[in-house]
């Protein structure tokens, strides 16, 4: 069992600076792939480094498999970390890099060779083993770094933006592989990234962090469909959720641009100061005589092949709509918009929290 638990963990780097990690409490289940997602400086890497033992928390407890690891040396925690820079030992061949943790464990030469071969085969890097890191491409270095982590069979894998130095195509390819690999190995993995698409595609669950604080934790669908606050709503999704200030009375919200939107049943009604959130695919361009439709001016149309993003203006609000590729309204023209009540999200304007 290798579940991981952060329990009210605090970390502050300087007396003047605000906390890098702010009372973080988080449970990572055994065999789960959890993604820590957030903008740079949100504390996600610090959280990971505290789990690895490279930083010590100022307060709180971190447990792996139910046992506290606070105060343990990194070498005694049995976690493997893949660094953003890969951190391959430049003076050792790929084989010796991968074999280094095994050498530390004093495995017999035959066992070492055996395990290196097996991992190299799994990652298709057998032909790279004699080379030094400087002779490898970025993608190859990334695989060797991954192999060095896997070969140890650690309790937990930690990944610190391991894909961010790869080019876009390789990144997408590698993340698919990584997901399959994690499922195959069945090892708990915590993956840090600032790329929401990477998080959505990889994660069993996503933990969204901002300014050292946990904003929301949930499955990709949960954080996408029901963001806990305005920050999550804006951070997840590309293009992000459309957010508009609105006044809500009863079952209707009226945006500052004058759009009357149905509020999903069960949402708080006695909360006039709100922000309405609409995913780009939650808005439909409809016929002009559609009941309840509102009209807006088309600003730009961005075709992406499989979809089209239409940017419209309604009052002061700029709204992005995702439509089918055959819908191409002319810029400058007026279109009618309609929304299903279930697509509407409401947030408190003062706190930003979902209602």
């Amino acid at each position: 069992m290798a579940d991981v638990e952060f329990d009210q963990v605090w970390k502050r780097f300087g007396p003047q600076e605000s906390a890098a990690v702010h009372g973080l409490s988080l449970n990572v289940r055994d065999r789960e792939l959890l993604v820590l997602l957030g903008p740079s400086g949100c504390g996600k890497t610090t959280a990971l480094r505290m789990l690895a033992g490279l930083e010590e928390p100022d307060d709180g407890d971190i447990r792996i498999g139910g046992k506290s690891v606070v105060g343990l040396e990194p070498k005694d925690r049995d976690v493997a970390l893949v660094f953003q820079s890969y951190a391959l030992y430049p003076h050792l061949s790929a084989r010796d890099n991968i074999g280094y943790p095994l050498k530390v464990q004093k495995l017999s030469k035959a066992d070492q060779a055996d395990r290196i071969e097996r991992v190299a085969e799994m990652l298709a890097i057998g032909h790279l083993l004699p080379r030094r890191p400087a002779q490898l491409s970025g993608g190859e270095q990334q695989r060797v770094a991954l192999a060095r982590a896997i070969v140890r069979e650690p309790r937990v894998f930690l990944m610190d933006e391991p894909l961010s130095n790869l080019d876009a195509k390789l990144r997408v390819h590698t993340r698919t592989e990584l997901k399959a690999l994690q499922r195959e190995l069945g090892t708990t993995m915590i993956f840090v990234t600032h790329d929401q698409a990477e998080a959505m595609s990889l994660a069993n669950r996503i933990a969204v962090l901002n300014a050292g604080e946990l904003q929301q934790i949930g499955t990709p669908d949960e954080v996408y469909d029901h963001p806990a606050n305005v920050f999550v709503a804006e951070f997840i999704g590309s293009p992000p959720m459309n957010l508009m200030s609105a006044t809500t009375t009863g079952d209707t919200a009226v945006t500052d641009g004058g759009w009357r939107l149905p509020v999903p049943s069960g949402s708080a009604v006695d909360h006039p100061e709100t922000v309405v959130g609409l995913r780009p695919e939650g808005i439909e361009i409809v016929a002009d005589d559609h009941p309840g439709a509102t009209r807006a001016e088309v600003i730009t149309v961005e075709p992406f092949g499989s979809e089209v993003i239409v940017d419209v203006r309604l009052g002061d609000d700029s709204i992005k709509i995702r439509t089918a590729p055959e819908i191409r309204p002319a810029p400058g023209s007026q279109v009618a918009l309609s929304v299903k009540p279930s697509a509407v999200r409401l947030f408190d304007r003062a706190s930003g929290a979902a209602l």
């Binding site: 040396e73 070498k75 925690r77 493997a80 660094f83 820079s85 030992y89 430049p90 530390v104």
Partner: protein, 299 residues
């Protein structure tokens, strides 16, 4: 959008200054003048070496540079037969190599500590180390003599080695700190996570990467201990402990009760004295150049 950005970037670059002027071709007069200056400067530095060569192989060597009038190898025979130069050389080698080993070991640990370990007032310590380097060594001569006497370190290689190492340490600690600063921390963190202790990670991962720096430190420590005169003169007066600088001294003053400079002998000694220096330089010059470039990058 991209085109506009590119154009703006180009415009910004154009504003930075005119493009570099093509290198003007030197005229013949300029060429001659430049080379003349080089020749004069080279001659200035080469003359002493020419003298050494001519005097060492001349039975009637004097203080002037010239073709040997009485070519001979006698001077070399004499220094080993009459001046026990074999033992003197061995003594010097022992002191220089021992100093080198002590210095390399110390700067590796001290440089690493200043680069990596969190200490209170670390910047003060770092500057204090540099301050030591600025002390003129002759100013410390008397206290060092007194200290060595009290500690029983006169006529002892331990004393000589400690002093030689101390002279070189401040600068080399700074040099190594720069080297360690330039080695990414992630590498040793990776080694810790792979199961190594801090010390083993230092030995197995960090030190191999700091090899150019350690090479420079070793080379400079050896050369400085090999060439150091002042401390040898004040600390050593036993004949069997004599190192090369003292042998020179001896060849200069005591010949039959009156001062007579044995030019041929001194030149022969000097040529042999130069050999290890040349050897160190030519074997390590690549390492030292790349190392010094690295170290300035790290500062």
């Amino acid at each position: 959008m991209t085109a506009v950005a590119t154009r703006e970037a180009l415009a910004a670059r154009a504003d930075e200054g005119p493009p570099m002027r093509a290198k003007a071709k030197a005229g013949p007069v300029e060429w001659i003048l430049v080379h003349l200056v080089f020749v004069v400067i080279s001659a200035f530095f080469l003359v002493p070496f020419l003298w050494l060569l001519s005097a060492a192989f001349d039975a009637k060597a004097n203080a002037y540079v010239g073709i040997p009038t009485h070519p001979t190898l006698d001077n070399f025979v004499k220094i080993f037969a009459d001046y026990d130069f074999g033992r003197v050389l061995a003594n010097s080698l022992f002191v220089a190599i021992a100093t080198m080993i002590l210095v390399v070991f110390t700067v590796a640990l001290a440089g690493y500590s200043l680069s990596r370990i969190e200490l209170r007032r670390k910047d003060w310590i770092t500057y204090a180390v540099l301050l030591l380097q600025t002390m003129p060594i002759s100013a410390t001569m008397v206290p060092i003599y007194g200290l060595a006497r009290q500690l029983g370190l006169r006529n002892s290689y331990l004393g000589l080695i400690l002093i030689h190492a101390a002279i070189e340490l401040p600068f080399l600690i700074w040099l190594m700190k720069g080297f360690f600063d330039s080695i990414p921390r992630h590498l040793e963190e990776a080694a810790w996570l792979d199961g190594r202790s801090r010390f083993r990670a230092l030995v197995e991962i960090v030190l191999p990467l700091a090899r150019p720096g350690l090479g420079i430190a070793a080379g400079l420590a050896f050369l400085s201990a090999w060439a150091e005169v002042l401390m040898v003169v004040i600390l050593i007066d036993q004949d069997n402990l004599k190192t090369v600088p003292l042998a020179f001294y001896q060849a200069m003053r005591t010949q039959g009760g009156y001062t007579e400079v044995q030019y041929g002998v001194i030149a022969a000694m000097a040529i042999i004295y130069l050999l290890p220096v040349m050897l160190v330089f030519f074997t390590a010059r690549r390492l030292m150049v790349s190392g010094l470039m690295n170290s300035t990058r790290g500062l």
